[in-house]
Amino acid sequence: MATGLAIPQSGKDAASAFDRKRRLKLLTGLAVAAAVACLPLVVTDVYAQNIIILTLLYAALSQSWNILGGYCGQISLGHALYFGTGAYATTILYTKFGVLPWFGMIVGGVVAAAIALALGYQLFRLAGHYFSIATIVIAEAGLVLVNNWDWAGAATGIQWPFVPDSWAVLQFNPRNKLPYIYIALAFASITWLTTFSIETSRWGYWWRAVKDNADAAESLGVMIFKSKMAAAAISAFFTAIGGAFFAAFVQYIDPESVMNFQLSLLMALPAVLGGIGTLWGPAVGAAILIPLTQVTRSYLGGSGQGIDLIVYGLLVMVVALAKPEGLSSLFTSRKAPRA
């Protein structure tokens, strides 16, 4: 920002340099996805595979959150509402009407996007912290509503019926986690690709302009309100898809497990830790946070001493202090902005 952009001699050079950089990013993405896809060949333990699935899920969720929170700068701490919408829409459609989860997933996504638009219409008049607080309050209100909604199981939650394994209803033998891994990988890849393609689209530039200085952006013709609404809808849509996947994966949902405030934090945390508003931040953050929480709980928890939580908290603090701009900055080159 402070170091001015050096303008290259000719536009053609710049364009090709830009294209090269984009291609490299895409190839990196492909390589990472391919590496993750091969991971189950090495990691055959179901517990470790379970961690891979959760990591991919949270990478995708955080990537979705990052669209609104990172790129557009609207810090939402109420994304659990969209997650819950996806989980409940899929579960209710499947258990009550026999609609396959694949379809319910899309319905959940569309409903969540609609909710995000309706809320955004009201909330985007609020700026900064006030917006964040409003998102918390609304998500909590949603939790209370579902908790008292008898038809949707209220506090008791809804269990998925116990049926033989099948791709149609997303249930698989627990010794074979491959289908879940590949579905989660596909989900993470789609959110990554969406972010990748949006980054250099008009929306992407508008969002960053809104984030940096909304007034200045508006004076240059950026449609602020529309930008925020678009970011909110895309973000909510993908978050709900994640909720739907989670419901199929766990096969039981209740308001506390899919709409709790902690979930909203868990979606924001990987992006913040890995690098907010960056393409790789959420994935890097999730790859560190999720295995860490799972492994510390399994191998240090159970004693009742809370050692796992202490270790987890300490590590998050160390990272935040050592790399406040996010861990993904470790991987970017330190050379001057322009070669």
Binding site: V46, T156, F162, P174, S298, G302
Partner: protein
């Protein structure tokens, strides 16, 4: 960069424990134990593990003075004297974590069976996992009736569920009515999580079936800061029996608010939870002299069955507390499981499951007020009875069922 290095070291350590932790010794049988040991349910989980450790002591070491299966000898004779050991896991009251930890215990620690889990929501996911892996799961202290109604073959519950508990409460009321007491109206007061919701649904249904009029049906937000409006409703209705389903903090707030608003209910008949916790009586015991709570365990039983007192003493030596509703059930679940493993003469999940299905332990061989332990085709023990305990003179006194009662109930409680 210390952070990166220590992270790598941590990962390496984990990898090492992955490879060594898996092999259980032939002379041991491992059982996975899933409870919340951090977060809001932590104390319950820690107590549970202590209760289960007492059960291990009973099974693994000779206790000639105890009338319990496997107590007299050491280890499991059916498996050449093999010792029972437990591997504990923390599910933090989260259904997703409960499922993941159950999978880990089964695949890495090669446990032969599972015990857990306090929260019924977590039991729902553990039981699905146990079913898919064909490893039996003993729901030690979960009371949601639906758990044993899903056609699962690998879940077993020796203790009563909510419907059985509530039926006992209404049996008690029916008895009072027959004896000429005025018991026509009831007030339901319950919190809005899974426990209160399930409990009130059953009570509402039973009240309708048995001809009691529900004059107040008050649901409140768990951990609410104020219950003034709710108590006003209860006071206005002034039912013959107030039936609360509340955890400890809400229960204390309820009693405090009632005395602030000058409402003295004619009788309280509580669905355990907060009303079986010592903390509640320490705080407001004086205001509710005569409150009755259902329970699954009664220390008064020790007078008839010395084993109850001896086991309680063993538990007290470890934890400094008397056994209660939860710890007694967790203890008993472990004994029932060990008995089945012993008869199965195998650590294979399917064989243990078949042995569990054949379980038949007479009530005298337990520490519970049950007729026997015998599972129906859904894995539910229908011969498990509940008791009603009345808070009288700073302690609990068993007042129902009559064959276990050591005193007649004081009813209504406000009677001079």
């Amino acid at each position: 960069m210390i952070s990166r290095r220590s992270f790598v070291a941590g990962t390496a350590l984990t990898a090492a424990s992955l490879s060594t932790g898996a092999r259980a010794q032939a002379s041991e049988v491992s059982v996975g134990v899933l409870f919340p040991t951090s977060g809001s349910g932590a104390q319950v989980g820690i107590d549970a593990i202590q209760a289960i450790n007492v059960a291990l002591d009973v099974i693994n070491n000779p206790h000639p003075d105890l009338e319990l299966p496997l107590a007299k000898g050491s280890g499991l004779p059916g498996l050449g004297g093999a010792k029972l050991r437990i591997v504990t896991a923390d599910h933090q009251s989260d259904p997703q974590k409960g499922r993941a930890e159950a999978e880990r215990l089964i695949t890495q620690d090669k446990v032969s069976a599972l015990i857990g889990s306090y929260q019924s929501a977590v039991a729902a996911t553990i039981s699905q996992t146990s079913e898919r892996f064909s490893v039996p799961y003993i729901a030690s202290d979960n009371s949601s009736p639906s758990l044993t109604r899903r056609g699962l073959k690998y879940i077993f519950r020796a203790s009563p569920h909510d419907e059985m508990f509530s039926a006992t409460m209404f049996d008690f009321l029916d008895g009072l009515k027959k004896a000429g007491q005025k018991v026509d109206t009831i007030a339901l007061f319950y919190e809005d999580t899974i426990f209160g919701t399930d409990s009130s649904n059953v009570q509402r249904k039973l009240a309708g079936e048995r001809g009691y009029k529900v004059v107040a049906d008050v649901k409140y937000r768990a951990n609410t800061p104020s219950l003034t409006a709710e108590v006003q409703q209860l006071k206005a209705a002034d039912a013959d029996v107030l039936m609360p389903s509340s955890y400890t903090t809400d229960g204390i707030l309820l009693i405090k608010t009632m005395s602030e608003l000058g409402y003295k209910p004619k009788a309280i008949l509580a669905q355990a939870a907060g009303f079986s916790e010592k903390a509640l009586y320490d705080a407001v015991g004086k205001q509710i002299e005569g409150a009755i709570t259902r329970g699954s365990f009664s220390l008064d039983l020790a007078a008839k069955r010395p084993t109850v007192g001896l086991v309680n003493a063993m538990f007290k030596a470890k934890s400094g507390k008397d056994m209660n509703d939860n710890t007694s059930r967790e203890f008993m679940a472990t004994i029932v499981l060990a008995d089945a493993i012993n008869r199965a003469k195998s650590t294979d999940g399917a064989k243990i499951r078949d042995a569990l299905a054949m379980t038949d332990i007479p009530g005298e061989m337990t520490i519970m007020p049950w007729k026997r332990v015998k599972f129906d085709e859904n894995g539910q023990n229908n011969d498990a009875d509940a008791v009603l305990l009345q808070w009288l003179g700073e302690k609990f006194v068993t007042v129902y069922p009559t064959e276990l009662a050591i005193a007649a109930p004081k009813f209504p409680m406000s009677k001079a």
